[in-house]
């Protein structure tokens, strides 16, 4: 592959409410067995990109733990590899990453020392499969300066939390608005870019000289009439998880046969860190319907239309409905949980009730001790 990869995984979002208190969005668990960043990393690996940098900043502990070895995505190679870049204090700078462009600027050495002619930049907060090689082919064919992966959203979708683009018939982007108050287009930017490496270095250096820090507003929006910026339309599943509602919906999407088949059965696969947990166990009293259950779970109660992540324990006579239970949650007997997202490593005492509504999902965070002496 003639490109290096950069995964922007430093972000945080207020729209994630309490879920972002303890982790970066890129570390959010997805579909029972994965974390959000796995999708971008697996796509890179499956596109034969050998050298990948992951830029982390916000609350990166659980993300770094997940990225502790590059072997899961097959990056542990002599040629290339996976690098995790967290902000550091250097002789020139003691700043945090002040924006996505600044994050790239502070790691400009990585870009300069590489020899591949192109760079693929992707966010760590989207769930999709994409062969970046195809995007690169398109980029070369269009003689583009920057190619932005875009997607047409349905009319019912609220697109104002995304970057919106308008294109010519040829695909060239003529207008780019970041998170507008009123939607003027239903074509959104998926936050995936292909750009020539030298071009990127030049743009980033100019940006930094002008004290500008954001890749979208200070490069894409500012240069849209000057540079040839093209839209590559993807038409397969893509979902951004950076709000509680979309996070919940993305997980629930995996209960649909087509989505499940696309991600779980079709080649190429999505990779993730292996946890060495035993198979899921169904004890008497367990009734499970239309749900995903991950390894290490022990079930004694009823589970319906829900996604159970790894190592969830469901006690006797529990009812879990329309909920997402993150990893390592213990749910005591006779507990009812409906329309909730239960934070990981939580302990829910017996006889508890947590009920949200489809429009107002409840995020359950109870910091109980699991073992009492």
């Amino acid at each position: 592959m003639r490109a290096i990869g950069i995964v922007l995984a430093g972000g945080n979002s207020k729209r994630m409410r309490e879920l972002s208190n303890k982790r970066a969005i890129a570390a959010m668990p997805i579909a029972g067995s994965y974390r959000s960043v796995d999708f971008a990393l697996s796509n890179m690996s499956n596109s034969h990109i050998q050298s990948v940098a992951v830029l982390t900043q916000y609350n990166s502990r659980s993300l770094n733990e997940h990225l502790s070895s590059s072997k899961w995505w097959d990056f542990g190679r002599k040629q290339g590899g996976m690098y995790v870049f967290t902000p550091t204090i250097t002789a020139e700078s003691s700043d945090w990453y002040r924006g996505t462009a600044d994050a790239l600027y502070q790691n400009l050495d990585f870009l300069k020392k590489s020899h591949e002619p192109y760079v693929v930049i992707a966010g760590g907060d989207c769930v999709y499969k994409l062969d970046y090689g195809k995007v690169l082919e398109y980029h070369i064919e269009k003689k583009a300066d920057i190619t932005v992966v875009c997607k047409d959203m349905g009319p019912e979708e609220d697109v104002t939390r995304f970057g919106l683009v308008k294109t010519t018939e040829d695909g060239r982007i003529t207008d780019f608005e970041e998170k507008p108050m009123v939607a003027t287009s239903n074509t959104i930017s998926c936050g995936i870019y292909v750009i020539r490496r030298r071009q990127l270095i030049e743009l980033i250096e100019r940006c930094a000289a002008e004290d500008r820090y954001d890749f979208v507003t200070d490069i894409l929006v500012r240069y849209k009439n000057l540079k040839r910026i093209y839209a590559y339309k993807m038409d397969t599943y893509w979902s951004n998880i950076a709000s509680v509602e979309s996070y919940y919906k993305t997980n629930m999407d995996f209960l649909k046969p087509d989505v499940r088949h696309y991600f779980f059965k079709e080649y190429p696969e999505i990779y993730s860190k292996v946890d060495d947990l035993p198979p899921a166990k169904y004890n008497p009293g367990a009734t499970v319907r239309n749900s995903l259950v991950s390894s290490g779970c022990i079930l004694n109660g009823a589970v319906e239309n829900s996604v159970l992540f790894k190592k969830v324990y469901v006690g006797n006579n529990c009812i879990i409905r329309n909920s997402v239970i993150l990893n390592d949650v213990y749910i005591g007997d006779n507990t009812v949980i409906e329309n909730c997202i239960v934070e990981s490593r939580d302990t829910i005492r017996a006889n508890t009730t947590h009920i949200g509504t489809p429009d107002n999902l409840k995020i359950v965070i109870e910091k109980n001790e699991r073992f009492t002496l």
């Binding site: 991600f263 990779y271 060495d276 035993p278 198979p279 390894s295």
Partner: protein
């Protein structure tokens, strides 16, 4: 100079012929176990959990699956700069090339491998037991007794004792007599086939007995050491240990995992069992599925019913299908409406729609009464069962079967079909 205090030699070359069609194409240690693991995962995980980071795995019979599974040992953290896991097949030499003719002969042929690590102790393990054991504690015991050989042993019911090597010990647990499969056992302390040897003692015995045909630890090395007056001690083990050498004990050991609190608990934080897991996604349980008292591996999709069963990873149980009291291994598909009762279905099998497996009354096997005596239907890996057929109890099937193989669409209890071919 490289120095490892204790290295392990894992005997994984046996066919395990008493597992019938399950081991037709793979060595016994590579047979699936417990919905996700392979039998060899248990001794390998015990090694790394006990701090033994140098393991030679002796292979001979059908080693392909075993080699692919072990690789360079990454799942067990046995990919090491020095030591780690090494697969040791028999090899050709300038003169006198041999297959491994016995357990001790296999070790003898790899003296050089062991010498490389300059060990003080060598741990001999076999690849067909299910248990968790801290070999470091056993080594402490070996050292405390100033022993030459320590044999792990456990109490078995006296009526079963004649199946094992029986140890007779004095009050300090020193072994005074050793009987291999005695008709009239005088003790119920059975050898588990796990030995710690002081390196020099093992080396001397192996060289001394190098001409012994089929040189075996239980039959030759231990009696030799005993006759030479070496200090041989029994290390009594009280945990869960199961030899899964027969279809009956294999089925039983799997079924014990679905007890509410299993005696052999895989869910404990401490002493994890590692395996190469190449299927990552969670399992999906459909709207009309029903599951009772079972364990199920990753990526499996259940549209039918699973009752009292152990189901591996990447399995599909079709709509209306029923799997009861059975073991279904990785990648198998049970067609819609099919019924599978008291069966062991190996990897990547296709069971056709509405096929009925395990119906009727028990009948003794016409194929091999010694192997197939546990009232279990046994289906070898990559077999194909056509739709709508009826298969009786205590039967054996292997290969790609078609409707023509079933007289009146039926295979009688006790009967068998052994064919070539199968799912590619």
């Amino acid at each position: 100079m490289i120095k490892k205090e204790m290295i392990a030699m894992l005997l994984a070359g046996g066919q395990g012929s008493r597992l019938g069609v399950l081991t037709q194409k793979v060595a016994k240690p590579a047979v699936s176990f417990g919905g996700k693991y392979r039998i060899i995962d248990f001794p390998l995980s015990n090694c790394i959990n006990s701090g033994v980071d140098t393991v030679g795995v002796l292979t001979q019979y059908q080693p392909l699956r075993l080699n692919a599974h072990i690789g360079i040992g990454i799942p067990w953290d046995l990919d090491r700069n020095v030591g780690g896991v090494t697969v040791l097949p028999p090899y050709e030499r300038s003169k006198g090339s041999d297959w491994y003719t016995g357990t001790a002969n296999a070790i003898y042929q790899n003296l050089e491998y062991m010498e490389n690590y300059n060990p003080e102790y060598v741990l001999i393990l076999s690849g067909d037991h299910i248990y968790k054991m801290d070999y470091e504690v056993m080594l402490e015991y070996h050292k405390a007794n100033n022993a030459d050989v320590t044999i792990a042993a456990m109490q078995v019911p006296i009526e079963e004792a004649s199946r094992f090597g029986i140890l007779i010990t004095d009050e300090s647990n020193r072994i005074t007599e050793f009987e291999e499969k005695p008709a009239q056992p005088r003790s119920n302390l059975a050898s588990m086939g796990i030995y710690i040897f002081s390196w020099q003692v093992l080396k001397d015995a192996l060289i001394k007995l190098s001409d012994e045909p089929g040189c075996d630890f239980g039959k030759h090395i231990i009696p030799y050491c005993h006759a030479a007056g070496k200090r041989i001690f029994a290390y009594e083990y009280n945990g869960y240990w199961k030899d899964v050498g027969t279809l009956g004990s294999y089925w039983e050991a799997n079924m014990e995992l679905i007890d509410i609190i299993p005696e052999f608990n895989l869910y404990e934080e401490y002493w994890k069992i590692y395996t190469k897991s190449d299927i990552i996604p969670p399992q999906y349980i459909a709207e009309n599925a029903k599951i009772e008292r079972s364990i199920i591996g990753e990526g499996t999709e259940v549209y039918g019913e699973i009752i009292n069963s152990v189901v591996g990873a990447g399995v599909t149980i079709g709509e209306g299908a029923v799997v009861r009291d059975s073991i279904v291994m990785k990648g198998t598909e049970i067609g819609a409406g099919a019924v599978v009762d008291k069966a062991i279905v190996a990897e990547d099998v296709r069971v056709g729609e509405n096929a009925q497996v395990g119906v009727g009354e028990y009948a003794p096997s016409k194929y091999d009464q010694k192997v197939y005596q546990f009232d279990l239907v046994t289906i070898g890996e990559r077999s194909v069962i056509p739709p709508d057929v009826k298969i009786g109890r205590n039967t054996a099937i292997s290969g790609e079967t078609t409707a023509e193989d079933y007289k009146n669409g039926e295979l009688e209890s006790g009967d068998y079909i052994i064919k070539a071919g199968g799912v590619q």
